[in-house]
Amino acid sequence: MSNIPENLRYSKDHEWIEVDGDIATIGITDYAQHALGDVVYIDMPRAGDKFTTHEAFGSVESVKAVSEVFTPIAGEVTEVNDGLNDTPEKVNNDPYDGGWMIKLKMDNPLEADAMLSAIEYEEFLAASA
């Protein structure tokens, strides 16, 4: 069973966001990390980089494969989880907290409201199983 915290919003590409004012923290969900397997490397952008909705902002590599990660909302990167590549296993073990990837200043906070709630994401996972 996937862990899906209630207080976050979700995308169909298996990213989660946590909103605090106009800043969104973004990472990948428990479902995504489980599908990927052991994460060994995360390719991340830099503070100041700008992305549009659904643009790939980086990639997550497991032993066997690479997967792009998409931002569900448009914005400018304010902070990157720099230490993550020292302990990439945090993406697997702690995807919603220590495994956070970037913080984004949202161009349009309404985009966050349009994302899936925890229940909607859970239903989405069940439907695609």
Binding site: D38, V40, Y41, E61, V63, K64, V66
Partner: protein
């Protein structure tokens, strides 16, 4: 995609019960990893023991008075040097001196050899071998469906297999084998493997596969923190890569000479009698190689993958044949064909990792060598 068209080993249900993530591996329904994950499986094999289903490999018997001469004619290594109970690593070569497959040759007797070939090339090898029979007094049998094969590898492997066997395994040296019982099951017990660790590969009738598998897990204390772990194809690949062992289709192919892949040590040009491709290989050795396989370590963050282009001094000149993280070494490593002048330890190379040009350095291989 339905898995109904995929071939299954006798351990397919066992893999699923253990939480195996099943994938299509060359037409076989195989586990790429289990619940512990690739890194844990890899590490446990190096520190305690790993368990591998390799039942999809192929087995071909060559029986009769002409057996040694026949196999010696089709392979690069010297079959006449084998004694009963001994095996060697070898290659089937074509007329161009390229590799049809790499394999193990086991000598059971002067007129009884067993060839163990790769899963993906079994049919190709069978056709190759049978079509090259030329009046020799031999019988060829494709016995691939008659065997399951389970590998137990790691520092604890010998202890685990010994607990179940009536044979004194300390008498079975590396690249030697015996027949005997494992958990009461008639088996070929071979001190060989594809991980760089000590251990055994056990061949038995397929109806005993689950029994042996479950017994190895039990005796190996699967479930305990330092117990045996089943290892999937991903860990199998990272283990062999750390040990710089070739994988057919990557370091070896029909158009790659064993010399280019660093396998000159299994090519016995001076053995008695000719072998297919000998003259081309000898000519290449005489003329000198133009390309050679080299091991490298990434010097910038990033992972080189199979097929990525390699440049030296801004010029594209090579290709990665296998690339991956190395869980035990905690580095990102790989093998690549490079022009011979750049295939030297210390050479700086650049690898195109999805558009990013990352620095790497040629290093000695094997990357990992077990403490004896």
């Amino acid at each position: 995609m339905s898995d109904e068209n995929l071939k299954k080993t006798p351990l397919n249900e066992a893999h699923r019960r253990l939480g195996g993530k099943m994938v299509d591996f060359g037409g076989w329904d195989m586990p790429v990893q289990y619940t512990a994950g690739v890194i844990e499986e890899h590490m446990r094999c190096r520190t305690r023991a790993g368990l591998f289903d390799v039942s999809h490999m192929g087995e071909i018997w060559v029986d009769g008075h002409g057996a040694v001469a026949f196999v010696n004619r089709l392979t690069t290594n010297d079959v006449t040097k084998l004694v009963n109970g001994q095996a060697h690593y070898s290659a089937l070569t074509n007329e161009q001196g390229g590799v049809v497959d790499d394999l193990l040759v086991y000598r059971f007797g002067l007129d009884k050899l067993l060839l163990v070939v790769n899963a993906g090339t079994t049919d190709k090898d069978w056709d190759w071998i049978t079509s090259h029979k030329n009046g020799e007094d031999i019988a060829l049998t494709n016995a691939s469906a008659d065997y399951c094969q389970i590998a137990v590898q790691g520092p604890d492997a010998t202890g685990i297999v010994q607990k179940l066997s009536d044979v004194d395994l300390s008498d079975v040296k590396y690249y030697h084998f015996t027949t005997g019982r494992v958990d009461g099951v008639e088996s070929i017990i071979s001190r060989t493997g594809y991980t760089g660790e000590d251990g055994f590969e056990v061949y038995a009738k397929p109806e005993f596969a689950e029994q042996l598998w479950d017994k190895f897990l039990e005796v190996g204390r699967y479930g305990e923190d330092d117990g045996i772990l089943p290892c999937g194809l991903a860990a199998r690949n990272t283990l062999r890569l750390e040990s710089a062992m070739s994988l057919y289709g990557h370091e070896l192919a029909d158009d790659i000479s064993p010399l280019e892949a660093g396998l000159g040590w299994i090519v016995k040009l001076d053995k008695d009698g000719d072998f297919i491709g000998r003259d081309k290989i000898a000519a290449l050795k005489e003329k000198g190689l133009t390309r050679k396989l080299a091991g490298f370590e990434m010097r910038e963050p990033g992972i080189a993958r199979d097929g990525f282009e390699v440049s030296v001094n801004g010029e594209k000149c090579g290709v990665v044949t296998s690339g991956s993280p190395a869980p035990f070494l905690k580095k990102n490593i790989g093998l690549a064909f490079l022009p011979v002048e750049f295939a030297k330890v210390g050479q700086e190379i650049t690898i195109d990792v999805r558009g990013k040009h990352l620095k790497a350095e040629v290093v000695p291989t094997p990357f990992y060598k077990r403490q004896k």
